[in-house]
């Protein structure tokens, strides 16, 4: 079975400061990795994904993430945050291979609170 752990439930940060949201996963098979953002009363929006290739992935809104296979991590980073980045962030995986149906398995979420 697969699981995703987001190590921080809340991350407060001042505007223009850097931020890192941490994500670790557990899986016996290869996985695709994702970060989604959810603004209040909205659905999920894909920030970035890792399928294969370069382990450093760049996404929308200036976010990037790095896949570390040995540490089974996929941490999300942004060098300078804005007030508008305040939202809930979800890390997720899709197990890859025969027998896997493509369902997303999500972590518990991290609330990013950007303060002025």
């Amino acid at each position: 079975a697969q699981s995703v752990t987001q190590l921080d439930s809340q991350v407060p940060v001042f505007e223009e400061a850097p931020v890192e949201l941490r994500c670790n996963y557990s899986s016996s098979v290869s996985v695709y990795l994702f970060w989604y953002v959810q603004y209040p009363n909205q659905g999920l929006q894909l920030l970035l994904k890792y399928l294969s290739g370069s382990t450093l992935v760049k996404g929308i809104n200036g976010f990037e993430a790095e896949f570390n296979k040995s540490q089974t991590s996929f941490h999300l980073r942004k060098p300078s945050v804005h007030i508008s980045d305040t939202a809930e962030y979800f890390c997720a995986v899709i197990p890859v291979g025969s027998g896997n149906t493509g369902k997303l398995i999500f972590g518990q979420g991290t609330t990013l609170q950007v303060k002025p």
Binding site: V4, Y32, F34, Y36, N41, Q42, G43, L44, Q45, L46, K49, L51, F90, A92, I94, T101, G102, K103, L104, I105, F106, G107, Q108, G109
Partner: protein, 115 residues
């Protein structure tokens, strides 16, 4: 390109009542997913359709939840009777197929409150 549509956006019912949610996926998307997101948790897959067939319903509480996708397009998720613990946001997503499940697009969700 129109996104995934869901209705209603909000619903308040009393326990033991029934409720239904509707989802219209992106045109051409063969795979449709229903996720349940309880407050403070990440979304959890309830049921996945490929066209009008069920691919995965292992986490669907079948004694009270049902879903259908007639004609392989729109889908309806029903709860009957509702319990307090069913209070959640119900998200619908779609993709071109299971082979492209890494490109799932989500609707705005339906927020259900059971009192």
């Amino acid at each position: 390109e129109a996104g995934v549509a869901q209705s209603p956006r909000y619903k308040i019912i009393e326990k033991r009542q029934s409720v239904a949610f509707w989802c219209n996926p992106i045109s051409g998307h063969a795979t449709l997913y229903w996720y349940q997101q309880i407050l403070g948790q990440g979304p959890k897959l309830l049921i996945q359709f490929q066209n009008n067939g069920v691919v995965d319903d292992s986490q669907l509480p079948k004694d009270r939840f049902s879903a259908e996708r007639l004609k392989g397009v729109d889908s309806t998720l029903k709860i009957q009777p509702a319990k307090l613990e069913d209070s959640a946001v119900y998200l619908c997503a779609s993709s071109f197929g299971t082979a492209r499940s890494y490109e799932q697009y989500f609707g705005p969700g339906t927020r259900l409150t059971v009192t």
